[in-house]
Amino acid sequence: MARVCVAGAGVIGSLFAAHLARVAEVSALTRREEHAEALRTRGLRVSGRADFTAELTAATDPDDLEPPDLVILSCKGTDLEAVASRIAGHWPDATVMTVQNGIGADEVVGRHGDWRSLAAVTFMSGTRHDDTHVQYVLDTATWIGPARGTTYADAQAVAALIVSSGLKAEAFEDLRPAQWSKLIFNATVNTVAALTGLPHDPHFAALDRPGDLGHLVKGLMDEGKAVAAAAGVELGEDPWEMNVLATRRGSAHYPSMLEDVEAHRRTEIDTITGALVRAAHRVGVPVPLHETMERLIKAKEDSWS
């Protein structure tokens, strides 16, 4: 049986941990001891699209866990540096999979160890009710591709494991097209939602009148597409079409950056929009709209600090 460690048990990490516990030996590496103890004693409950409680081990110190074959780094981009540094020096034979929003997570991990790695983007979503209860909301897939020292076959094997656990996953030979599509989508939808307070709803696709939000959304996505093109990346899905489709489904999704802003937490602006802006500067493509969004979000973070 495969051994999986989920490092960072927020929404995404909890969804992975609980599902995978049905087909693998799963442990969770948490930041708080209280969280680890709750998971050890109460297990991890999933509600929503599935309904079960999984048993798993948990600890705050990697030394207290059996060396895993696969580490899923599922913390937020803002915590990646800290979490990666905690597993530094441990588990040299493990494969590390990053699922952070944005691009560049793999480089961050690479600074802390020379594990073999896979890159993933996930489109599933949920709501965390407490340390041991997560609600599974959107059952969209996780896409996985090879990164350092891994092959398409490795990505396929992990995708198959995840699928067997009841979640959706797909392996790709090259993840960059999907990663960039999601980056552009996220950099736009997250920042617009966080600044306006609107969930991702039909306003984001409205183009009827001047001043409608869709014009800005489209403008931000066009800038992102120009960066991808200049970086030599052929996009997977078109971010604007992803936006139109998502808003037509009728559901109003609360992007994580909006939740962060409402809870007065630091946002992932540096790893999402920041990553796009840095990539734009490297390839010499102007992105004034994204720069504007980045400045406004950072200033907003300052308003409660």
Partner: protein
């Protein structure tokens, strides 16, 4: 002379209370907030802060009570101009009406209801702290000039400016008042929404280099739209931004748009960034940053 202030919010109150200190001016205030109106009629209209003034003002929420006036000073939020003028225009059949509102496009609305219109721009600011009481946060000048399409006679503009000045609101009458107006519109459009979107006061917006540069980008786009109309700004909005950021001026001032957002009231963004973007579009001047800010603030309004 008889003056009616239409919309007795913070700015309207500054004019009403100060003018009411003059023996030769009878001041009326038209406002829909009943508690405010009742307090003014009972206790007078009181200003605190930058100046301590209590003015005897006749306030009403019933436009029919307004007598024939020599002057109107319109100080409603820009989106309420239409309704306010529809109700009160009868009082100005023989008079002149000035706007001291934020944004662009207000004169055009006034001209649909009255014959003699005065283009105006005012810088003082404050906030209502209780019914009948206004805190005067920032002192500043006012500029008045005839509105080109439907002008008030210049000597009437001078007469109103003289009364305001004597009352304690320094006011200049000029032939072309577009320069000061666009300077203020550009100033407001470059700073108010940044406060509204981030929650920061004017001073804190300005001390962040990245936001200050964003304000400059908005200023530059606004200047190009003004220049395309042949408008000569009376001074650089950039200087005004830095001046207002000083601790003793308006460092701690929450822009009116931030006050609106916090109270979940509709903002004036359509008349500021939306106004500049609209003129830009007509004139073929690109204003991508104003369009961005406009869409974001409209999004904020839509989220309530």
């Amino acid at each position: 002379m008889v003056v009616a202030v239409i919309g007795c919010g913070a700015v309207g109150s500054l004019f009403a209370a100060n003018l009411a200190t003059l023996d030769d001016v009878e001041v009326w205030a038209y406002d829909l907030a009943r508690e405010h109106v009742d307090a003014i009629n009972r206790d007078g209209l009181r200003l605190t802060g930058a100046g301590e003034v209590t003015g005897r003002v006749r306030a009403t929420s019933d436009a029919a009570e307004l007598p024939p006036c020599d002057f109107g000073i319109v100080a409603t939020k820009a989106m309420h101009t239409d309704a306010a003028l529809a109700a009160t225009a009868h009082a100005f059949a023989e008079g002149c009406v000035a706007t001291v509102q934020n944004g662009i496009g207000n004169e055009e609305v006034l001209a649909r209801y009255v014959q003699r219109v005065i283009r105006g721009t005012t810088f003082p600011a404050g906030k209502i702290t209780a019914p009948g009481v206004v805190q005067w946060d920032v002192k500043g000048d006012t500029t008045l000039g005839p509105f080109e399409d439907r002008p008030a006679p210049f000597e009437q503009v001078e007469r109103l400016a003289d009364a305001c000045t004597r009352g304690g609101m320094p006011t200049k009458a000029v032939e072309d008042a577009r320069g000061p107006q666009w300077r203020k519109v550009i100033f407001n459009a470059a700073t108010n929404p940044l406060g509204a979107l981030t929650g920061l006061t004017h001073g804190r917006v300005c001390e962040r280099p990245d936001l200050r540069r964003l304000a400059s980008r908005l200023v530059d786009e606004g200047k190009e739209v003004a220049a395309a109309q042949g408008i000569v700004l009376d001074s650089d909005p950039e200087e005004l931004i830095d001046y207002a950021a000083r601790p003793e001026v308006a460092y701690d001032h929450k822009a009116s748009m931030l006050q609106d957002v916090e109270a979940r009231r509709q903002t004036e963004v359509d008349y500021l960034n939306g106004g500049i973007a609209g003129f830009g579009k007509k004139l073929g001047v690109p204003t991508p940053t104003h369009e961005t800010i406009w869409a974001l603030v409209k999004g904020v309004e839509a989220s309530w």
